[in-house]
């Protein structure tokens, strides 16, 4: 199950969605908005997705994970728009008969989502400045201006 939403994510519902009597293990990951990064303070984040391609890429990653590991269910929900401190930006939940597969698949999905799914994050710092997070572009290139 893949979803992009601009509403707060109910992580318990995502986890419950992958539970099964065929599964001995469920691994769930939440990405949450952190207040402090290095010496700086975040006010909130703003996520932007490429609609359509983001879902399609997530579906492709789910299919790849199911080929690599013995999984029962996979659920990925990513939020877009404004995400306040402590709120959830992404939930990845997987279930498997065995725990090693659940951990490995969940971590691989999360790592790979952050590398290839066209969803971008803008930091809105507490000092009012904004910055798109684009690794490899350098701080100047990513600066969004006040």
């Amino acid at each position: 199950m893949i979803a992009i939403t601009d509403q707060p994510i109910d992580h318990a519902a995502v986890t419950d969605r992958v539970r099964s009597t065929r599964a001995g293990a469920v691994c769930t990951f939440l990405g949450t908005t952190r207040e402090f990064t290095g010496g700086r303070t975040t006010n909130h984040l703003d996520y932007e997705a490429y609609p359509g391609m983001a879902e399609r890429t997530l579906e492709d990653l789910e299919a790849q994970a199911r080929q690599r590991w013995d999984l029962i269910e996979v659920a990925v929900v990513h939020r877009v728009g404004r995400v306040e401190l402590g709120e959830i930006s992404v939930v990845v939940a997987v279930s498997s008969p065995h725990r090693v597969a659940a951990f490995e698949a969940c971590q691989w999905l999360m790592d790979t989502i952050k590398q290839v799914v066209p969803i971008w994050k803008k930091e809105i710092w507490a000092d009012g400045t904004e910055e798109w997070v684009h690794p490899g572009l350098g701080p100047e290139s990513g600066q969004a201006g006040p």
Binding site: E48, M53, Q115, V117, K121, H134, A144
Partner: protein, 93 residues
């Protein structure tokens, strides 16, 4: 031909619009599209080498042909993705 290219995140912000229209010779490849986009939108020139190109929702390499009417997008590096963008991700054509 003229193609429409979708922009996101810092690229959208630099141009100040969610898409641009770029004139291309015919036939044209994704590499030609990169060059033309940089010439016609100089504010994208510094970003283009770090961006991927997606055609019809798939990452594609510079040798791929561009067809008029295709859905084309410039994809800035995603938040955890410097390594992935150094070498094209799996599934890149």
């Amino acid at each position: 031909m003229t193609v429409t290219i979708r922009l996101f995140a810092v690229a959208r912000q630099r141009v100040g619009a969610p898409e641009i229209r770029v004139d291309l010779p015919e036939p044209a490849t994704v590499g030609d599209l990169r060059r033309a986009a940089g010439e016609q939108y100089p504010e994208l020139a510094l970003l283009l080498p770090a961006m991927m190109v997606a055609v019809e929702n798939e990452y594609v390499g510079d040798a791929v042909a561009v067809a008029e009417g295709s859905e084309i997008a410039l994809i800035p590096p995603v938040s955890g993705g410097s390594a992935a963008f150094a070498t094209p991700p799996a599934g890149t054509q």
